[in-house]
Amino acid sequence: MAFASEMVSSEMVEATEYPKLAAQFQISGVPDTIINQGADRALGAVPEMQLIEKIKAALE
């Protein structure tokens, strides 16, 4: 999504190397996608449309 849109940026974060961040966002299961610093999240390998619904919810 980051590739397709200038409004979207993305990061992959290897949680064991950054324990503080992982704790900040209370990461337990992976993959976990945190949207806009915790406005919402999508746990697991979510399909495209589901992620979009989460992004919409996060932006409200």
Binding site: E11, T16, E17
Partner: protein
Amino acid sequence: MSQMLDDGITRQLKDLFADLDQDVEILYFGSQTQNCQFCKETQQLLEEVSGLTEKVALHVYDIDDDREIAEKYTVDKVPGFVIVGREGNDIVDYGIRFYGIPSGHEFTSLVTGLMMVSKGDSGLSDDGRAFLAGLKQPVHLQVYVTPT
């Protein structure tokens, strides 16, 4: 250090990379001074991957010595790297960042990322693209993974 990628993976990657289109670059940021558990391994892994094809170039930076470049690409953790496209003299930043050693699923994402940027196709559905076209606010996605 001995080679990190085994022969099987190297063969698979070479096959995949035969499909690469535009040049892409990996901007890697490490640190000699900061406490960086996997900087050496990450750099070696990226060197091995980029060494398999002329279309992927690797630039190695130090997050402190090259602070301005790190800030330009908003890289704030090590090891961290950015996948960018190269069009002639221009670098195109798509907002794709990786933090931590790209093993396990993150390795797949690295390779997928390289292919995507090179071929210029996000692989999203029409609905997905339409959603993105209508976005008015910035969206920052952080995907947390572990090296299994």
